[in-house]
């Protein structure tokens, strides 16, 4: 079945929303507050701060890898869809990549809401069986000797990738480093480079 046109979905969502409001199941002000929170406050810039801190503070990095939920909460990020976090570290020999084949599980407090492609059937189906093919389409070429680890977040844990710190960034502070950390690098469909940015 072809995917319904975006306009059709928008129309359907509006119809459902007005029904929910009419029936008193949803307060429009609460809905607006939730949307505003994920549009302006919670997004990949949070995760980028976590990564930059880990790159610059070895003790924090150790805490992050042993108890990610608590370490991330130190920076003030916690809550819905990030209650039980696991951080997986990219190294010269391992590249991690996150998917949710069953639905669209995603670490909201650090990355915000998932992009549409993350929720799409093709990504969910192909990330597990052909991760290298998917990575190539994202522009990530990995040497064959590097292990690709796919994390299918099927239960209640939520995964965040700690990308490798790019070469040539030795003099940069955490704020400058955070600007190099893209959303895709923290999903594992991208890598951090000395010129990549959180815009993506």
């Amino acid at each position: 079945m072809p995917a319904p046109h975006t306009d059709d979905i928008a129309l359907r969502v509006r119809a459902i929303e007005s029904l929910l409001v009419e029936k008193g199941l949803v307060q429009p002000a609460a809905l607006a507050a939730i949307v505003e929170t994920y549009e302006t406050k919670i997004g990949p810039h949070n995760g980028a701060q976590v990564v930059a801190r880990a790159w610059t503070d070895p003790a924090f990095k150790a805490r992050l890898l042993s108890d990610a939920t608590a370490a991330i909460a130190e920076l003030g990020f916690s809550g819905v869809q990030g209650e039980d976090m696991v951080v997986v570290e990219n190294t010269p020999t391992v590249h991690n990549m996150v998917v949710c084949t069953l639905c669209s599980c995603y670490p909201w407090p650090t990355l915000g809401l998932p992009p549409n492609w993350y929720k799409s059937a093709p990504y969910r189906a192909r990330a597990v069986i052909d991760p290298r093919g998917v990575l190539t389409e994202f522009g990530v070429e990995l040497p064959p000797e590097k292990e690709v680890r796919v994390w299918d977040s099927n239960a209640e844990l939520r995964y965040l990738v700690l990308p490798e710190r790019p070469a040539g960034t030795e003099g940069m502070d955490a704020a400058a480093l955070a600007a190099l950390v893209s959303r895709d690098a923290m999903i594992g469909t991208g890598v951090a480079t000395s010129s990549s940015g959180a815009a993506r």
Binding site: L102, I129, S153, A155
Partner: protein, 118 residues
């Protein structure tokens, strides 16, 4: 069910609701154990991806005790149990076309796996 009031939104988002449980349940598996995923095919809610059923993996980590979605989703209780990070070789899941070194990790409820006796 009363509607979520706007004044509760921030607190709810910041707190969430963990599925982790405090029940003192002894783990049946340990890191390093070789396990086989049970070939079960529930018609009801499950977090067991079909592609892993019947496959062999290795327990890598004990994630702690969690509420079991498969029963809780149907009002049949929390059935608290350990969840394990289980590592699978990509080739054990997908055959020879997969890269030899590649791996896949799943979080397996205890009810999904059984010890493999060689």
């Amino acid at each position: 069910m009363p509607a979520l009031p706007v004044e509760n939104v921030d607190g709810l988002i910041a707190t969430g609701a963990t599925a982790r449980m405090t029940d003192d349940v002894a783990p049946r598996f340990r890191p390093g154990d070789r396990v086989r995923v049970r070939n079960i095919n529930p018609t009801t809610h499950t977090r067991l991806p079909r592609y892993a059923r019947g496959k062999m993996g290795t327990v890598e980590a004990d994630r702690g005790v969690f509420c079991f979605n498969d029963t809780n989703a149907h009002g049949e209780g929390h059935k608290p149990q350990h969840v394990y990070g289980v590592r699978f070789a990509a080739r054990d899941l997908w055959g020879e076309q997969a890269a030899a070194r590649d791996t896949l990790y799943l979080d397996m409820f205890e009810d999904y796996i059984e010890l493999h006796v060689a």
